[in-house]
């Protein structure tokens, strides 16, 4: 198949060798599981259990109450110890609503529905099963998958793209999953194709994963609507819009979805979760996590229950070789630092990476020398240096005019910057600040309305008072007049 070129991009050293040959292994049961109620984009889930309840593995803990949200289930059987706030697996380390579960080590499943043939289900039933299983995009974006599977209703779709690019350095969880469970992934793909009613599926795998490619080719050999495609290794190939461009040559219009050009993209790990959920009714309660990085004693790929503390993963991998300079969730390009190793693993964690200072090669920032390496590297055709200069000088609107909102924060610009300017942080700052301002504006509109209401009310009150006064006066006058008449009569 003919592939198309994307603009820019970088070639970071992939360092996948550290963990690529380690088979996925299960983790021992942790002592406590902490399950945040918001592990996805959208509204937090609402708890349906209470403190002290005994729950079974796979039992619903918190339900999604709005359109864009995802349910949360018990990763194992045990007792609810608390429903409260706990440090979020987020750079800020701010608290998040979290259910604490003490495993009883029986690991007893809740009664699951009998296995069904997904192709006998109605399309809506499939989407409902995916929603009930609390599946979110497992490549890290954590967008509720059921919403994406329901796009058929609003868009004319023709292609499902499976993202197995895994372009982030270090990460090998999708690679291992494709190698070891190709048939299950393929089943998930077929279910998703059915749910979306698309004509074809393209599985895109970067050419630095020949084993995964072979495994998926073999698994898909019987299905002529499913093609496995070898895409070039180039960061950010795994970006949804750029992957679609590589495969079809079509750019997704700005501020639109890939569905606008008839394509839906899902991660391969999501396909695996869909297989589990639709065929067996098993909710999403665990995932594969790569633990890697130069500071890790024994890099591994682990099958981890949602809610397991990161510290347990590190301990299981033998701890640190040397003091890491950064500990991240996700890959080094787009991952985020974790505030503490006690935070739990959530649905979107594809890796826990501990990097040494030498590996990161981060230096103190110098002033921008306008070398334009960032302009060449930007896959979105932006001018990062100008945007950052405006963000730095507080001219956020100027940054937006230059395309800030088209930035996907892939980090290619900052990766190549010889001055080590923290470009991505400038953009994230500017975007966050703008969102805050929007919210403030919203509040302002609201308070304006309140102030106007109040003005009207006070006006009413005054009027009422005036009228009352007037009435009283008239009353008094009448009485007086009446009294006078009686007097004269006398």
């Amino acid at each position: 198949m003919k592939l198309f070129k994307i603009r820019g991009g970088v070639h970071p050293d992939d360092r996948k060798k550290l963990s690529a040959n380690k088979a996925i292994e299960p983790m021992p049961m942790p002592k406590l599981l902490r399950i945040p109620l918001q592990q996805h984009i959208g509204a937090p889930a609402e708890p349906v259990v209470r403190k002290g309840d005994k729950v079974l593995k796979g039992q619903l803990l918190a339900d999604s109450k709005s359109v864009i949200s995802a349910a949360v289930h018990a990763p194992t059987s045990g007792q609810i110890m608390a429903i409260g706030n706990y440090m979020a697996p987020h750079p800020s380390g701010l608290p998040i609503r979290t259910i604490t579960l003490k495993p009883d080590h029986d690991d007893r499943w809740i009664e699951l529905p009998a296995e069904v043939d997904p192709f006998t289900l109605t399309l809506d039933e499939i989407v409902k099963r995916v929603a009930d299983a609390g599946i979110v995009g497992m490549g890290g974006a954590t967008f509720p998958s059921a919403v994406k599977l329901g796009l058929r209703k609003r868009y004319e779709l023709h292609t499902l793209v499976l993202n197995g690019a895994e372009c982030e350095p270090y990460l090998t969880c999708d690679d291992r999953l494709m190698r070891e469970q190709a048939d299950d992934i393929l089943d998930g793909i077929r279910i998703m194709m059915h749910a979306l009613q698309v004509e074809q599926a393209l599985i895109a795998i970067e050419n630095n994963k020949p084993e995964a490619l072979a495994a998926m080719r073999e698994a898909s050999s019987g299905f002529n609507k499913i093609k496995v495609i070898n895409v070039p290794t180039r960061y950010p190939m795994g970006s949804e819009k750029h992957l679609v461009q590589t495969l079809t040559g079509k750019e997704t219009p700005a501020r639109a979805l890939t569905a606008d050009i008839g394509i839906v993209v899902h991660n391969v790990a999501t396909a695996h979760a869909v297989h589990d959920a639709v065929r067996f009714g098993r909710p999403l309660i665990s995932r594969v996590v790569t633990v890697s990085g130069g500071a890790i004693q024994q890099p591994r790929n682990l099958h981890v229950l949602i809610g397991t503390p990161v510290q347990d993963l590190l301990d299981y991998c033998g701890g640190f070789l040397e003091q890491p300079s950064h500990i991240l969730s996700g890959g080094p390009m787009m991952g985020h630092p974790i505030p503490d190793t006690k935070v739990p693993v959530i649905k979107g964690f594809n890796g826990v990476i501990a990097l040494t200072a030498k590996e990161t090669a981060i230096r103190p920032p110098m002033p921008c020398i306008r070398c334009a390496n960032c302009v060449t590297a930007c896959p979105c055709g932006l001018v990062p240096l100008e945007m950052a200069a405006r963000a730095r000088n507080g001219d956020l609107q100027g940054a937006v005019d230059l395309g800030l909102m088209d930035c996907i924060a892939c980090g290619s610009c900052a990766y190549v910057c010889p001055a080590h300017v923290p470009l991505v942080q400038y953009f994230n700052y500017a975007k966050g600040e703008l969102t805050l301002r929007q919210r403030a504006e919203h509040k302002q509109a609201e308070t304006k309305r309140l102030a106007e209401q109040r003005a009207v009310r006070i006006e009413h009150q005054k009027k009422a008072k005036r009228e009352a006064m007037m009435r009283r006066r008239q009353e008094a006058a009448r009485k007086k007049a009446a009294a006078q008449t009686t007097e004269t009569e006398v």
Binding site: I261, M333, P364, C368, I369, R370, E386, D406, Q425
Partner: protein, 364 residues
């Protein structure tokens, strides 16, 4: 084990590049032509070069100190050395010491530090100094000597050279020699056409090797080319600026030469003489003051080439590289303002792309 890690924004991996490294590569690329220039023009050139570079470093340190900025990281980035170095290469090799000192002060203080230092300057600092010197001290800046290689017979020794650089400049009259461009300009203004003016002048091979009168580091086209190719290979500069700039000059020169061969020298003379080569590979390519987009760089380079040819051929100055670069530096912000890459998913005008069949993909 409890460790604390800094929470800073990503990405958390980086290319092994830095500003120091960039500057070091540029210096490395300049090394052959500099060494050759110093050899060719002997001790006076070595003195002038040393004085110029040293002044640049001292001026940078002083400016940073006055501005209360950290001195060490900015001195070590190598940009001040490079500025002084480039300035020295464009000076007449036997110019008096104070030319180098004043030039470096102009370059570092007026050309760079008043703008806020590294990366903030709007004009190429070395060219600011070069133009200011040319206009302020036309005599010293246009007095060139024929090559006097180090240790060759007839070349001044160490002590004599001290006198050349640090003594009175007037003594140069006896041995001064015009550059090719200067010579052509003088002859043409006296009504002598090129067929006679080019007699007894350096041949093209001589210009290629650089064994002629000229500025310290501008004579050898070949060595400059070698350095430029190194920078291209290291991807420190893009091919666009040098290629477009040289091509523009070559095309213009060829056209004009065909129209009037007795008045306009052909492309080879233009390419190999003066500071065009140095300008194309080392000066116009200055990262800070050139446009950031590919198209913008092409436009900038074509503008440079055009201005160089116009100034060389018709203005009051025989050489126009410094002026042309300054003028195009001034236009760079405008070029960057109007020429931007197309944003992903948008048309050139910035509107979201609309596909003709989009109506079919969205259900109403």
């Amino acid at each position: 084990m409890k460790i604390t890690v800094p929470i800073i924004g990503g990405p958390y991996t980086h290319e092994t590049s830095s500003i120091n490294r960039l500057m070091l590569w540029v210096m490395l690329a300049l090394l052959p032509v500099t060494a050759y220039g110093l050899y060719l023009f002997g001790w006076p050139a070595i003195f002038l070069f040393t004085v110029t570079v040293l002044t640049a470093i001292i001026a940078e340190a002083l400016s940073l100190w006055i501005a209360r900025r950290p001195i060490k990281p900015f001195l070590l980035d190598g940009s001040a050395v490079l500025t002084g170095w480039l300035l020295a290469l464009t000076l007449p090799p036997w110019a008096p010491w104070w030319v180098g000192v004043v030039g470096s002060l102009l370059a570092i203080v007026i050309g760079k530090q008043v703008f806020g230092g590294l990366g903030q300057n709007l004009f190429n600092p070395a060219m600011v100094a070069r133009v200011a010197l040319l206009i302020s001290f036309p005599l010293q800046l246009t007095t060139f000597v024929a090559p006097h290689p180090l240790f060759a017979a007839g070349s001044p020794g160490f002590m004599d050279s001290l006198h050349v650089t640090f003594g009175h400049a007037a003594q140069l009259d006896g041995i001064s020699s015009a550059t090719l461009l200067g010579h052509i300009r003088t002859q043409l203004s006296q009504g002598i056409d090129l067929s006679k003016a080019l007699l007894n002048q350096p041949s093209l091979t001589q210009l290629l090797w650089g064994n002629t009168a000229g500025s310290m580091g501008e004579t050898s086209a070949l060595l400059i080319l070698a350095g430029g190719l190194l920078l291209l290979a290291r991807r420190i500069i893009s091919w666009r600026i040098p290629v477009a700039m040289l091509a523009t000059v070559a095309v213009l020169a060829t056209i004009m030469h065909m129209l009037d061969p007795l008045r306009y020298p052909d492309a080879a003379y233009h390419l190999l003489s003066g500071s065009l080569m140095l300008g194309a590979f080392f000066i116009a390519t200055d990262l800070v003051t050139s446009p950031v987009t590919g198209k913008g760089q092409l436009l900038y380079a074509v503008g440079c080439g055009l201005l160089i040819y116009v100034i060389r051929s018709w203005s009051g100055f025989p050489e126009g590289v410094a002026f042309a670069v300054l003028l195009m530096n001034a236009l760079t912000p405008l070029i960057d303002y109007y020429i931007k890459p197309r944003v992903y998913g948008r048309t050139h005008r910035g509107e979201p792309i609309q596909y003709a069949d989009e109506a079919t993909s969205k259900k109403s």
